[in-house]
Symmetry: D2
Amino acid sequence: MNAVFSTTYEIDNKYSTKYHERFVKFLKYVQENDLVVDGAMTDPKGDRGKSPSAQDDPDLYLHVVERREDGIVVRGAKAHQTGATNSHEILVMPTVSMKPEDKDYSISFAVPTDAPGIVMIIGRQSCDTRKLEDSPLDVGNLRYGGMEALIVFDDVFIPNERIFMDGETEFSGMLVERFAGYHRQSYACKTGVGDVLIGAAAVAADYNGVPKASHIKDKLIEMNHLNETIWSSALACSYSGWKTQSGNYMCDLLLANVCKQNVTRFPYEISRLAQDIAGGMMVTTPSEKDLRSEEVGKYVEKYLKGVSDVPTEDRIRIMRLIENLCLGTAAVGYLTESMHGAGSPQAQRIMIARQSNMEEKKRFAKHIAMIKKA
Amino acid sequence: MNAVFSTTYEIDNKYSTKYHERFVKFLKYVQENDLVVDGAMTDPKGDRGKSPSAQDDPDLYLHVVERREDGIVVRGAKAHQTGATNSHEILVMPTVSMKPEDKDYSISFAVPTDAPGIVMIIGRQSCDTRKLEDSPLDVGNLRYGGMEALIVFDDVFIPNERIFMDGETEFSGMLVERFAGYHRQSYACKTGVGDVLIGAAAVAADYNGVPKASHIKDKLIEMNHLNETIWSSALACSYSGWKTQSGNYMCDLLLANVCKQNVTRFPYEISRLAQDIAGGMMVTTPSEKDLRSEEVGKYVEKYLKGVSDVPTEDRIRIMRLIENLCLGTAAVGYLTESMHGAGSPQAQRIMIARQSNMEEKKRFAKHIAMIKKA
Amino acid sequence: MNAVFSTTYEIDNKYSTKYHERFVKFLKYVQENDLVVDGAMTDPKGDRGKSPSAQDDPDLYLHVVERREDGIVVRGAKAHQTGATNSHEILVMPTVSMKPEDKDYSISFAVPTDAPGIVMIIGRQSCDTRKLEDSPLDVGNLRYGGMEALIVFDDVFIPNERIFMDGETEFSGMLVERFAGYHRQSYACKTGVGDVLIGAAAVAADYNGVPKASHIKDKLIEMNHLNETIWSSALACSYSGWKTQSGNYMCDLLLANVCKQNVTRFPYEISRLAQDIAGGMMVTTPSEKDLRSEEVGKYVEKYLKGVSDVPTEDRIRIMRLIENLCLGTAAVGYLTESMHGAGSPQAQRIMIARQSNMEEKKRFAKHIAMIKKA
Amino acid sequence: MNAVFSTTYEIDNKYSTKYHERFVKFLKYVQENDLVVDGAMTDPKGDRGKSPSAQDDPDLYLHVVERREDGIVVRGAKAHQTGATNSHEILVMPTVSMKPEDKDYSISFAVPTDAPGIVMIIGRQSCDTRKLEDSPLDVGNLRYGGMEALIVFDDVFIPNERIFMDGETEFSGMLVERFAGYHRQSYACKTGVGDVLIGAAAVAADYNGVPKASHIKDKLIEMNHLNETIWSSALACSYSGWKTQSGNYMCDLLLANVCKQNVTRFPYEISRLAQDIAGGMMVTTPSEKDLRSEEVGKYVEKYLKGVSDVPTEDRIRIMRLIENLCLGTAAVGYLTESMHGAGSPQAQRIMIARQSNMEEKKRFAKHIAMIKKA
């Protein structure tokens, strides 16, 4: 929301459009009605070697297919939309910096999730159907979850008052950059998941009877260290925010991208260390049905026991939670989404390059080396 | 098999037992009948802070519970047994170096998988039930798979001629070390899985339209580099083998442990890079049922298209294979088993410490630093 | 200074001593006279396996050897004191958490650097004598430098009004922890050195003619990413400060330790990447004397030329700066001091363990896994 | 030598030249007289963005400047030549794969190091002048060392019988690739240096009194693990050699490049860990002159003492050796040369890409994913 807020303000400044006013109205409506809004940026993109308007199928980037007096009709899709199914509204933004020939693709608007022409198709997640089995223990994480949707816009009408950008191609880059900045800052959320996984690994170590082994303690420290390093960048980019023309605040883009870049790495290592601590039982534990079975339940109960004072079932519970976070439904969010959410690693690297002020650093070096040439 | 072959020979040398002769007879039987043998080492271990005979439940390490004229009766279990269900025989070995008080636990023998008292309980794997759904596409890897069993020995009788060690506690360490050495060498197998994952990532890059992006090429190089580094140690420890007293060959233990230690790290990084290259579609692709659906199939077909000349279904196939290897059934073997199979990382570190000849290295350093003191 | 300020306040609260008042007086004196103060914590420590009072030589930790009406006499040393030679005053603090038997070692005071009995012995640095040769070019970094001193206290008298702790062993841990916290936060300084090294590597790439090679650009991005990750934790721990009883502010100890822990790693990788970009010339460039030589100067001039429009001498200058930062006098500060300054890596890991609130994380995990047992 | 041996054989096969016969004659002369030969490949290269014949100064790659009946005259230089000053002969080879327009640069020959027109200019190394001071202790490593020369060919005459390639541009790639392959294999040598550094760190831990601290033991294991991983690839590429047309053996090029690529990384980490174990004393120890000084020698002796039964001087010796290997003259060889010797990291990555047989891996993946399209 922040990104659209500040960008519409700057578009209006240049073109005397009314986008900002419209957006503020929409924002108030959202706040007054306490609505959930899905910020939808990522297009399917088709052949990634080609620009939006150069795709064989023009719909692989969402675009305007018809213009009416009272609004526009759009076609296309937004992919990988976490939380879309539990949102009231979708706020659409372009997914890349556009060139003049991509005018019809430089579009931003809001639309209710149940508007005519909108279709959502849910993606499969690793272990998704465990939730449908009658084995709650095997789910590992009964309290929380999420899913991703492909949102199809099959000729959806958008009334004028919900359009926040339409053809101002040179502002698409700013909008993408700012939305991505906020979004990358928000990957601080992964440190919360990290906390749970670190806690789960520590519980597993307790149940295995090795909480005091020096290598176990050291691995828990390393997990915390990595997790807090992510947290550091998230905090730092927030504290270092700056005021945009519109009056709202933008996080520091360099540090927000550094934050997200670390998120593409450290959760994988934290997950690896959790698997190290948990032990092989994490992937070889028999099903709840076997645990409850009259025939073999006694064996599962007996041989999966860890330390004496912890019930076997509790040990299984913690193993299933770790499995859920490292390989199951939650791994989709903790690992692969940490990689690609809010932009793939290479997207952050490009931003880091742009924000690094290399010319200043070269000047520092030349000054100290007493090189006169600029 | 090699470990038991050479260790029984050395036990016989010391105690004039007949283990080696018995084992050779068993080995011939196996070879003549082309049988598959599961080498079963890992006990459940219960409270890992306690030795076998100090556990509250004495059965948490497999042991002799009765001695008869014609053989012994054993009770306990072997955990995490990959391939057990498709084996004809189980070759049991102790799981740790034993002390004198663990005499009844220092036991090695062979027994058919269908002997009375043997019960196998299969572990759940991530995404295991996809194989039971009517959606072959979602399985990702229809050709290959495996599973792990908890093998319970509920008072199983072992005839004398199949006993290869019984109470020679001081040889349990040698047997464990040698079996682990061979087993760690054999983790070369993960480079084959790595080859498939590297190939899959490259195909995904082709289908996404970015095979020539420099960062994609660089990531594929890194994956190959890591995979071949594992392969190097596997080759090197094999080439550097030495002849045991029994006449068979033992791989170099230092390099075999180095090999396995790298296997606890590099497949995780290779998997991370594969997820980077594949893109978010790897975890958000709708089900085969949606692809085949009359209602929404056309949308899946249209919007999951990559480069023009590749059918959407093929793109989905490669994404499902990558999902299978990074999060699904095959991830159990490629990741968590790479961590814990043939011993956990710390077990290899202990062996690396033992095999590193630190005293020689200290002498080198003192010699160069001209320190006279020994 | 901050650590002594807040700790003296809390000691006084407990013991009704006058340390804080004394310290504030000293602080005002320092501020009014614009003095440089060396915060001296690290004792030589001798056998690190033994506590202060258990050393064979009691002086290996600084301690009180005589008590007079008007003050105390101390003996011992403080090691690795960067900047000591250009300081006016030394502020001594204990180096570890003390036990009751180490009463005479729990001492904090200030003393002028030229007080009777104080001897400073400068440590050698890599390439230190290049500054004494008549070859400024070979120095690499003519503008900046520093050095480390061993400060010996050979029975130095400290008047009462300069004593800020004397025997309150249970406060030594707080003082160490707080001083270390501030000091670890201050390792943000290494990102400044990192900026220079990144700039120097970029200039070297320009001069070598490869600024646009994709792997070079990628390595510069990585260097910036690592450098800014350090910066993040330094900022975050500062922003998250909290008010002590005395009224001054303490940085967040967890994040300060995370900051320093990254400093023990990333400068090494940044340095490695700088060496990668610079090329072998960084360590094989002939001396300035050869460059200026009538006989061979022309060869050096001709064959060390990079791109046509940059003088060979400038290319040499930048190589010498990189050498200085990676192997020379500045490497002492940028690498080894990054490792051990403000405490060795293990010291930070112990603090990270203490500050991580593992019990809360275990509760989170148990809650989600629906484990009732506490 | 091996590379020229096999390549000349294949050139002769194609062009009926006599290079191989000439080379064998030279080789016998070398062996009979027990001569040291410097294999000289690396040209200065000037602007790395330009090919040999496109440089502003044509001499920045060594080339033929005159052709006579009895031989050729060459001009140019070879840079970074370790061991050149203690060699009897120089065996020159081209440094990159050449194109038809680079005919005069595609030249290989042997020449005595004292031939007219050859000038060697020695490069400076970090801490080089410590060897000239009267302080042997400060040198750290009195037994071993080396240095690098820039070899200038100022119109050097090469008689026909010593020319082994002259203008066969299409074979320059083969010669470079093979020489580089052998050379990268030979970086096994760094594991020997690694052994010394690991030993030195272990001695330092002993002298510091912390040989049993679990984190110290773990770091020594990690150092050994990394060192032996390098050794693995060196062994594996050697064992997997193949017979060339000429009858000699070529190491496996993929694994040789993998070996060298690890050498560009692991010595840096081993060095970092050594600095961690050694402690700050490694860079702050006063000079030998201070140790021997009448005035302050007693302080150095007293306060640099570690465990009681080791003389302070021995502790200083081991610190100086570690300094020598991590920052001093030996660091040039152990670190920066590990990076750039036998080709920079990117050169190995290009070779790994070429040797990885990606098409086969893609076929594997498609087969398992049941993709029919080739």
